[in-house]
């Protein structure tokens, strides 16, 4: 079920199990048959914790999506709302409860994810339905184990909230999540950070630590260091087009909560020779994580190295199938048969990824993709970042997707530490005239969060940062990489470089550059209960981007 969580250096299944336990406990609290009414946003993150089978074991018989009006009839004893603490959702719940059939009342419960909210309960009270709930509880789901080496909050709007709306709720959740993590994996002795948000998270963690003073966890620390980084320390990386296999899947088809939806045509069964008759119309949904052996192998490869890896794998698999001719004795045949399910799984996995790789290749070999990548790389290496780019201009004229234009313009702005007023105004006018004046607010928002900005009197310090941190590497080896820059075929993500330098030789060596990046940088130490200090060869660093 969750084999992908065992493969990393830290067993993240402990966290998942803890989360599952809490879920079971809550479900059992509402005894009897039940229907869950979902805040649709939550179904994705919950999928990473528990499948429907777990819910079913605890008498969940029906699932509905939260919407106004009356909840569909279902012969269940309990109605359980799984919701984020948001006022607009409370209004819907109130409507649901108020229009419940008075003759066959059911018990109502609310599970707030990830935290209870006084504000929401107040709203329910104002609507006169607060007393209708038998249980009001919270389900703390902050850091979700995503893969063997990755925890995610699956909170897609936190950048917007923090930087545009000055709403730091997600940082509070992050701090709480890190406290939960420490309760399960021991106190993290060192905390490093860069940026305002990182500072805020660290402060909250230290404060929370004081709040729990006295209840020391007697657990050997698993993590040595926690590194907190603000997203705005490294705005460049997310703007650049990802070039690893997984990255390109995300760029082209977008991965949400560990799943990708793919065009079905490529995956149609072509067996009985009735091809083309009934092609599936539903997109094909695939789960992507390290539990799949082949995917674990190729996900992080540069796409240019994926083809070779796939054909090598194909040979191994067909060789394995050929083995059956060598199986002579009953024992050998038995051995072969026992491996068959695994081999068949491998074969279908290979078929899937070959199809995906073909879909991606159609795009990466296009002239358009190449031209756009060339411009990106020019920006990243600092070529002509202070002028209007003809390429962008042409793209606007062709009315290419707005997101592509914005990504490129922002990238140019970041790589030039702001654009000349004239250049900026030109781009803005071009965008507004082509895509509509309503985007004046879009542009203002980009400026507010710093993705787009006019050049200040300050010198452009991007070249210094690039050189000191070696953000651009010539002759990157895409096939057998020895440096992280292979992931963007030349560009090494700034946040990764900060992590590398921190590990060795330490941030003191890059003080100058750290000062150029926004926000304070800091270091905190947390007391580990005596007797829990441990010497280890390889430090485990937990990196958390706010």
């Amino acid at each position: 079920m969750a084999s992908h969580l065992f493969c990393g250096r830290v067993n993240l299944n402990i966290l998942r199990e803890a989360a599952r336990k809490d879920l079971r406990e809550f479900l059992d609290k509402c005894s009897g048959s039940k229907a869950i009414v979902w805040d649709e946003y939550l179904t994705g993150p919950f999928g990473l914790i528990a499948q429907y089978s777990l819910l079913k074991e605890h008498e969940v018989e029906k699932m509905f999506t939260l919407k106004g009006g009356r909840i569909p009839s279902a012969a269940v004893k309990n109605i359980v709302f799984f919701v984020r603490p948001r006022l607009e959702l409370m209004d819907i719940i109130a409507e649901n409860v108020a229009s419940e059939d008075k003759l066959h009342p059911r018990d109502f419960h609310i599970l707030f994810v990830p935290r209870r909210s006084l504000l929401c309960e107040q709203r329910l009270k104002e609507k006169g339905v607060l007393n209708s709930f038998t249980n009001i509880d919270e389900y703390i789901l902050d850091l979700i184990p995503y893969d063997g080496d990755l925890l995610s909050m699956e909170s897609e709007s936190s950048f917007r909230e923090c930087y545009l709306e000055s709403d730091q709720t997600s940082l509070y959740h992050a701090a709480k999540g890190l406290m939960t993590l420490q309760a399960l994996y021991g106190t993290i002795p060192q905390i490093f950070g860069k940026g305002e948000c990182a500072r805020h998270v660290a402060n909250m963690m230290l404060r929370m630590k004081r709040e729990f003073a006295g209840s020391h966890t007697q657990i050997l620390p698993v993590f040595d260091t926690l590194l907190l980084l603000d997203r705005n320390v490294d705005l460049l990386t997310p703007l650049a087009t990802q070039l690893t296999y997984e990255g390109l899947i995300d760029e082209i088809f977008s991965i949400t909560n560990g799943y990708v939806k793919l065009p079905p045509e490529k995956f149609a069964q072509k067996k009985q020779g009735e091809g083309g008759k009934d092609l599936p119309t539903e997109p094909k949904k695939l789960q992507l994580n390290s539990a799949e052996e082949l995917y674990a192998e190729i996900r992080d490869k540069n796409f240019n190295a994926v083809g070779a890896a796939l054909s090598k794998k194909a040979k191994v698999i067909s060789a394995a199938f050929e083995e059956r001719h060598n199986a002579k004795t009953v024992g050998e045949i038995k051995q072969f048969v026992s491996q068959l399910p695994h081999m068949q799984a491998a074969r279908s996995s290979l078929a899937n990824h070959t199809s995906i790789a073909e879909l991606i290749k159609d795009i990466t070999t296009s002239e358009d993709f190449f031209d756009s990548l060339t411009v990106e790389q020019e920006f990243m290496t600092g070529v002509d970042t202070d002028k209007v780019s003809t390429y962008i201009e042409d793209c606007v004229a062709q009315k290419d997707p707005l997101i592509k234009i914005l990504r490129l313009v922002c990238m140019q702005s970041v790589c030039n530490n702001g654009l000349k007023q004239k250049v900026l105004d030109f781009y803005k006018r071009e965008i507004l005239q082509t895509y509509g004046y309503k985007h004046i607010l879009t542009l203002k928002n980009l400026e507010k969060v710093g993705l787009l900005k006019p050049q200040s009197t300050m010198r452009n310090n991007y070249p210094t940062i690039r050189k000191t941190l070696k953000l651009w590497m010539e002759d990157t080896n895409e096939q057998n990489p020895n440096d992280i820059s292979y992931v963007y075929s030349g560009y090494a993500p700034l946040s990764v470089r900060l992590t590398q330098v921190l590990a060795r030789p330490g941030w003191r060596s890059i003080e100058e550059v750290l000062k150029m990046l926004p926000g304070p940088h800091f270091e905190e130490r947390q007391q580990v209960p005596t007797g829990l200090h441990k010497k280890r060869n390889k430090p485990v660093i937990l990196v958390k981007s706010a």
């Binding site: 003073a213 062709q398 507004l432």
Partner: protein, 833 residues
């Protein structure tokens, strides 16, 4: 029976230990008093003179420790009390005739009151019993209407009215509360009939083997554990059996036919022998398994207090414990006992006398390999002894025996020493909690600490915690918190002194909830002190509710912000919004940017108008402009949209944002233009971007209008050329396209012309533009129209290696091999260079 001296008296299989000589000075003893003593050596409450019902003489309520030391005394001013009783947490319950129950702490402080329901207050209380169960302390009432009302837990009152008892004409002869199958039930005797009442039914029951000569059951009692039941009949027989009435244990004739004053079980856990105590005036009879009874004379009016492992007898002067002799004690102290423990005790005595007999005794034990058993017996017996001297003797003997044992686990001995030290300390006359070791183990250290805290014996409680190494959280910290809660209520000391004292004492104690202490301070009217104490609270979340309650909203707001919990901030903000007038509210937010931005977020979703007011107050013209722009998109009517955009323009100018202002003016202009054209040409345009508008115009042939927009809005040439090129190709208006291409030199070059034509499958038109393409793009242009020769020509001319390779890659080996040779040759020279 030599070994028992002094205050312990043996009565057959029972022993009577004098716990205290009472410290109180009662003129009339316990006569005419309503008495209630809490189990587990708890406090004693007396209501004196409550039988005298004259308005002039008020009854006096007095509370004492088990040793008779006064804790509280005050005149009773409320209604007629029918019953007194104690809760599990040492609170005194006074049940009045009208069914009101008043709750006092053991210092006589009034805590609260509750009612047992309308039915009870109407028909009045006839009799009451206060009982304890795993669910807490309960109250059972028999009303004047001969109905029972029951509350199982007074901290969570759920009144239950039990079914009627058939044929009940007057008060039943006796009744008791039972806890069975996780339910509290009432056992009622009406003459010789016996009924069990539960929530739903009244079931007649018959005790197996009850003597037939009885015509009425006059008294009954249930054991401490609710497992056993004793019934006394009017013929003087005591029937003993299990409380489920399935088994009879024994029946004894007391030969006394007058109704007794009290009856109680006297039985230790796991004992095989049933024994009950029945008390009349001046006489106490113990009945057991055999026909013989033990009679015991009482000098004074007394009260029986049933305990887990015996019965306490409280009289006006003395306090005694009557219990079955514990097995280990009996083994050791029985005359001429040869039990290993007894021999070990002897051995140790001889050893102290430096006599060689010690060795003989020891050898005797060792020969039977019973030494470890002997040690265990001595340790256990020590636990059951009340005299420290006896305890010491037994423990010394055990320790002596231990020397001759290897690998004997020390835990039992060590923990017994510790337990006894604690027990001796709390049994002390000044403390007055006469717990037995069995009771102590049952009630746990936690509860003992609570009891000490209720008695305000903080230093002793802390000592006990430290001595027993109770985890700080449940031990010392908890005691300190109680101490602090008490401390803050002391009116005579100043805020500063108390705050300092509390902070110094509690400084490094783990897990202290300062907000709880502060709440206490606030409840006793000391707001300033509460604020001072809250400063010590590390959990901001805990500070906020109290600060709000104390109307310290600015402080509450900043604490909420400090916590980082945005929900808490919202809670305070919403509170303030209701409390303050709008102006003050906005002012307060202004000083707290975090709260302000959260509130703006709230308004954005919930109260758009307030959002506008906020921007207005801050003269935030930029945001106001944005606000109007957004509003303009929500409005369907064009006039309204334009008006809103005009407001936005005004605001942007005020914000000195010329770009935004001009852009918005452009937008208005475009809207007006679109509408005008819509009216004139009947073409859907409003809402299109400038680019899309021009595209539409060109596609329907309104070239002039498109040109006008191009000029009016200063559209860059490049983009306009692209636009026109594509629009004309789309319409396949090749003639117009050619004209357009010749108007002036193309700002986008001519390669796009070639490519767009090809895209529309018109190679003929495409070729027209190839010659105009710049040299750098020539190869591409030739390739686009499929002219391999031309492409090769251009590439060779430019001696560009990569271009030559591109052309080569497009050549087909069968048809173009001559060309390929040329290209390869050119490539070779290009590389050389």
């Amino acid at each position: 029976f030599v070994a028992y001296r002094g205050q312990t008296e043996l009565l057959g299989p029972l022993r009577k230990i004098e716990l205290y000589e009472m410290g109180w000075n009662l003129k009339d003893g316990l006569r005419e008093c309503l008495v209630a003593a809490a189990p587990y050596g708890g406090p004693i409450a007396l209501l004196k003179g409550h039988y005298r019902r004259s308005p002039s003489a008020r009854p006096q309520l007095e509370i004492y420790s088990s040793s008779g030391l006064p804790l509280a005394s005050f005149p009773w001013k409320s209604g007629v009390v029918k019953q007194l009783g104690w809760t599990v947490s040492d609170d005194l319950l006074c049940v009045q005739e009208d069914g009101t129950v008043l709750v006092y702490d053991l210092w006589g402080g009034f805590k609260r009151h509750f009612s047992m329901g309308n039915e009870v207050s109407q028909s009045q209380v006839l009799e009451t019993k206060i009982f304890h169960s795993p669910y807490g302390t309960g109250v059972a009432i028999l009303t004047g209407a001969l109905r029972f009302t029951l509350a199982t837990n007074i901290d969570d009152i759920k009144l239950r009215r039990l079914p009627e008892v058939p044929g009940l004409q007057e008060a039943p002869s006796c009744w008791a509360v039972l806890t069975q199958d996780r339910q509290s039930k009432v056992l009622v005797a009406n003459g010789s009939q016996l009924f069990i009442l539960d929530n739903t039914a009244c079931t007649p029951v018959t005790p197996p083997g009850l003597s037939p000569q009885a015509s009425s059951i006059v008294h009954m009692c249930v054991s401490f554990s609710y497992k056993y039941l004793a019934l006394l009949t009017d013929s003087g027989h005591v029937w003993m059996g299990t409380s489920n009435l399935k088994e009879k244990l024994s029946e004894v004739d007391t030969k006394i036919k007058t109704p007794p004053k009290q009856m109680a079980w006297c039985r230790r856990p796991k004992s095989q022998q049933p024994s009950a105590v029945v008390m009349w005036d001046g006489l106490l009879i113990v009945v057991g398994e055999c026909k013989e009874t033990i009679q015991y004379h009482l000098d004074d009016d007394s009260v029986l207090v049933p305990e887990l492992d015996g019965v306490r007898i409280i009289s006006g002067t003395h306090h005694e414990l009557l219990q079955e002799v514990p097995g280990a004690c009996e083994e050791i102290f029985k005359i001429a006992s040869m039990a290993p423990g007894a021999l070990l005790l002897e051995a140790h005595k001889e050893y102290e006398k430096e006599s060689q007999k010690a060795d003989e005794y020891l050898r005797e034990i060792k020969e039977q390999s019973l030494l470890s058993e002997a040690v265990r017996q001595c340790v256990e017996a020590a636990g059951h002894e009340h005299e420290p001297e006896t305890q010491k003797t037994l423990l010394r003997a055990a320790s002596f025996g231990k020397c001759f044992l290897s690998n004997f686990p020390p835990e039992q001995f060590v923990s017994m020493c510790r337990d006894l030290r604690v027990l001796n300390a709390v049994r002390d006359y000044t403390v007055g909690i006469p717990l037995t070791h069995t009771q102590f183990k049952q009630m746990t250290v936690q509860v003992l600490i609570d009891r000490l805290v209720y008695r305000k014996l903080y230093p002793l409680a802390i000592e006990v915690c430290r001595y027993l190494k109770t985890p700080e959280y449940q031990g010392v910290s908890r005691v300190l918190k109680h101490w602090a809660c008490y401390k803050v209520q002391q009116k005579e000391e100043s805020d500063e002194v108390i705050a300092k004292a509390v902070s110094v004492k509690l400084a490094d104690a783990a897990g202290i909830s300062y907000s709880e202490i502060a709440t206490k301070a606030y409840e006793s009217g000391r707001t300033e002190l509460a604020i001072k104490l809250l400063e010590f609270e590390p959990r901001s979340g805990e500070q906020v509710p109290l600060l709000l309650k104390m109307k310290k909203s600015p402080l509450a707001l900043s604490k909420a912000i400090e916590s980082g919990d945005t929900d808490l901030v919202y809670t305070v903000v919403m509170y303030l919004k209701n409390e303050l007038n709008r102006g003050d509210f906005f002012m307060m937010l202004r000083n707290q940017p975090v709260a302000l931005s959260l509130y703006k977020q709230f308004c954005k979703h919930q109260e758009q108008d307030t959002l506008k007011d906020l921007f207005n107050q801050d003269d935030d013209h930029e945001e106001l402009g944005n606000f109007y722009v957004k509003a303009s998109y929500k409005d369907q009517r064009l006039e309204a949209r334009v008006a809103l955009l005009q407001s936005a323009v005004d605001e942007y100018y005020k914000a000195k944002n010329d770009f935004s202002a001009k852009t918005t003016e452009d937008e208005m202009r475009l809207l007006r233009f679109q509408r005008k054209l819509e009216e004139e040409k009947d073409e859907q345009l409003v809402g299109f971007s400038l680019q899309d508008t021009m595209t539409t115009l060109l596609s329907v042939g309104l070239h002039k209008h498109a040109e006008q927009l191009y000029k009016d809005f200063r559209v860059p040439d490049k983009r306009f050329w692209w636009l026109k090129l594509k629009a004309l190709a789309e319409k396949e208006d090749w003639e117009e396209l050619e004209k357009f291409g010749k108007t002036k030199k193309s700002p986008i070059g001519y390669l796009p012309f070639v490519e767009v034509c090809i895209k529309h499958h018109n190679k003929y038109e495409a070729k027209k533009y190839v010659s105009k393409v710049t040299p750098e793009q020539k190869v591409k242009a030739h390739l686009a129209v499929g002219d391999m020769e031309g492409a090769a020509e251009a590439a060779i001319e430019r001696r560009n290696e990569s271009e030559i390779s591109t052309v080569l890659s497009r050549c087909s080996a069968t048809t173009d091999h001559l060309l390929m040779e040329r290209l390869n040759r050119a490539k070779a020279t290009a590389v050389k260079k």
